[in-house]
Symmetry: C2
Subunit: 442 residues, 2 copies
């Protein structure tokens, strides 16, 4: 075998980075559980026809098949693909298991997803997402749309990362406004406005005229709407000042005011109403969310989602939902790239038990076993090299303590190899300072 | 969308089962870390040619390609497949990153793998494995082969599952013995003996004659070897009593005695030498492990591995390793099937905050926020239904406590809905009994 090389778009963190990732996932998971979300994992594959229901993402799907497929036989698969998000599999799971679930159903799901996108900074082909969703049967109360950003704010605020801002909009505001100004193809208008960040207002105006049948005045109104942004309910006054009327607009404004005002009361500065947020076309029907990491705005949203009323629907059964997804790999990729996150050592090990000679390995093993039973991560030295080399083994990994078994019944000693301090110790009693017990993320 | 149905071989646990799985994974992970194994995750895909290096597994590989592959373009992939185990990707990772790693390198890896096997009880197409491996540069000390089963014993012994027995053999014993009796194709002999459990001794004897060129007497000797089993070093005497001599046999016996005696000293009853264990052909060159769950022997090994000297080799660089892998999904599938594992509730939630009317939602939200800040998982009632209905909402999910906000400045009360006991409480002070704080696995 020749030396292998990485595959573009499929990141692999080194163990210290993986420790940071586990810390971040643990914090997110713990927060989700504090809000009562139950854990779920769905299979990695879905029937291809389900993945292709939404045209926008179809070009990114990975197809999966057995190398020696056996189409005529009893194990012949229908075509399968890897899931490209966790929302489509969740909606399928809800439909499949509706009879066994309690509604409203709150679940979190932290899993890899795959997209055949062109790899670039912040964009991967295999990446980890952490999702929460709430679905209900038939109808879903609007207060859940206000709750989800607060959960995300809590989950991310405890981490050593830059602050976030969640930008919120509501599809009903955009669609109601577009209809209110007299546009008949609000989807085309949404698609055009969605390009605002990329191509700027002049080209969006031209696109509105060209693809959405807008007049110059209508295009100008759409752009004026997209420019509105506020950290509180005052955005609604700015919208009304544009003089457009539509029942759907009123409904959307009321919902969006609730989301923004609830957030302002609970976590000032966390959410802003930003009426340019569109979230592609996807499956959203109400509130939509995007999230900027301050200082990393150019890499796009690290946490997105929204309300979907029609994703989980079979016959007369319908399960409207709202969800939001943290792009864990994107978030970590950006922060690893800028050296924002560090861990105090490259292994979990707190103590290395030294070895006088190979005959004494069982004695060192017993010391290690005692320390482990007391929750102290411990390794025994790989070989009975000179003590200087054994200490360097620990040093290179950041292991803070080396344990020297006492010869011939003498008491053991433990050395803090950072300070050089060495003290007598017994494995049934010695305890490291709590900050040394596990690798620290900062 | 019509009601979807499951895909055979791709299990999905319900949230209560997923909570049990998380508990099991957490316990395994914590034990691996106590032994100083660092975490690693590799990408899910490997170049297909790497996955096909071992003929035995090639028929099980899943091929992955972008639906709209673009072979001429800059993003054209080489053929990729999903990994079928975690050892082959780990060996590749070590070769790719050898310059950045510290050796000996201890890592654990808990990830999904995929195999296109025919699904049946205990066999899946997508399943979770939990691996530990130790690799070193150039040479790997034999004491690691004795350490790994002890880690597994520790990891699984703390779980509410039946006891395990790790069966250990050594490829050198088998190969040395076969050569010692005069067989020239030890691989063919190993393949034949590997079928002992499936086809019985008579057919294995016939196969040895037919495929490994054995005489009746040689076949009989091979079967006599395979029948030897002991919980301590006495197995070596039984082997020597068969009167076969070979240097490789001596080497293997010495290694296997160390593994079994170390285990007997540390964890009596955990390991037995069982000379019929072959582990297919794969990549093993020394010690091999299989593990039986008592009472579930018919479903095969739930934890397997061995030593591999030649898996991670590129040019003159060689990284011998030893590893062992817990089949988490198989283990859980068996135990879920027999109802051996239970969890005390179906959601993480400990407290449901009741809602007098929708106007008081912010007040109930504030109570929930205070409880969460103190580590108590809390939901607010989805609607201001009658209190009886809100209590039933909690009951159906196994949520033990319902919190009633005091009206008009009166003190709040909290009800244990199992006993009916209701007491005054404030969200800054009330604490549930520790056994109610999180769902309990038993």
């Amino acid at each position: 075998m020749s030396k292998p090389s990485p595959i573009s778009g499929f990141p692999e963190w080194a163990p210290p980075q993986r420790m940071i990732e586990q810390y971040v996932i643990g914090r997110i998971q713990r927060t989700f559980e504090l809000y009562g979300f139950a854990p779920l994992e769905t299979r990695s594959v879905e029937p291809l026809d389900q993945l292709l229901r939404k045209g926008e993402t179809s070009k990114e799907v990975y197809l999966v098949r057995r190398l020696q497929e056996d189409p005529g036989g009893p194990t012949g698969d229908d075509a399968l693909g890897l899931h490209f998000d966790l929302t489509v599999p969740f909606a399928r799971y809800v439909l499949e298991n509706a009879g066994k679930l309690q509604f409203p159903f709150r679940r979190y799901q932290i899993q890899k997803v795959w997209r055949g996108e062109r790899p670039q900074e912040g964009r991967y082909r295999e990446f980890l997402q952490a999702d929460i969703d709430i679905v209900d049967r038939d109808t879903l109360p609007a207060h859940y749309e206000a709750e989800l950003p607060l959960v995300i704010g809590d989950a991310l605020s405890g981490l050593p990362i830059p602050p976030i801002v969640i930008q919120v909009n509501n599809r009903k505001v955009s669609e109601g406004f577009y209809r209110g100004v007299g546009l008949t193809d609000p989807d085309a208008a949404l698609r055009a406005v969605d390009k605002l960040d990329k191509i700027g207002p002049d080209k969006v105006a031209a696109l509105l005229v060209e693809t959405a049948g807008a007049t110059e005045a209508q295009a100008k109104a759409c752009l004026a709407l997209a420019e509105i942004s506020a950290p509180d309910g005052s955005f609604a006054d700015a919208v009304r000042a544009l003089g457009v009327e539509h029942p759907l607009l009123d409904e959307g404004l009321a919902e969006l005011v609730t989301v923004v005002e609830t957030a302002a009361a609970h976590s000032p500065g966390l959410c802003v109403a930003d009426l340019r947020i569109a979230r592609g076309l996807d499956y959203y029907t109400g509130t939509v969310y995007e999230t900027q990491l301050r200082g990393y705005e150019r890499f796009g949203s690290i946490c997105s989602g929204g309300r979907y009323d029609n994703l989980a629907t079979a016959g007369s059964a319908t399960f409207p939902g709202v969800g939001i997804s943290i792009g864990v790999t994107r978030l970590l990729g950006l922060l690893f790239g800028s050296g924002e996150l560090n861990v105090s050592r490259s292994v979990p090990t707190c103590v290395l038990v030294a070895l006088a000679d190979e005959e004494h390995r069982p004695a060192s093993d017993r010391i290690a076993a005692k320390l482990r039973r007391r929750g102290i991560a411990t390794e025994v030295s790989p070989s009975a090299a000179k003590y200087g080399r054994q200490i360097r083994f620990a040093e290179r990994r950041g292991i803070p303590y080396v344990w020297f078994p006492g010869a011939d019944g003498a008491v053991d000693e433990v050395k803090d190899i950072r300070s050089g301090e060495q003290v007598p110790a017994t494995p049934d009693e010695w305890t490291p300072p709590v900050e040394d017990l596990r690798p620290l993320v900062s």
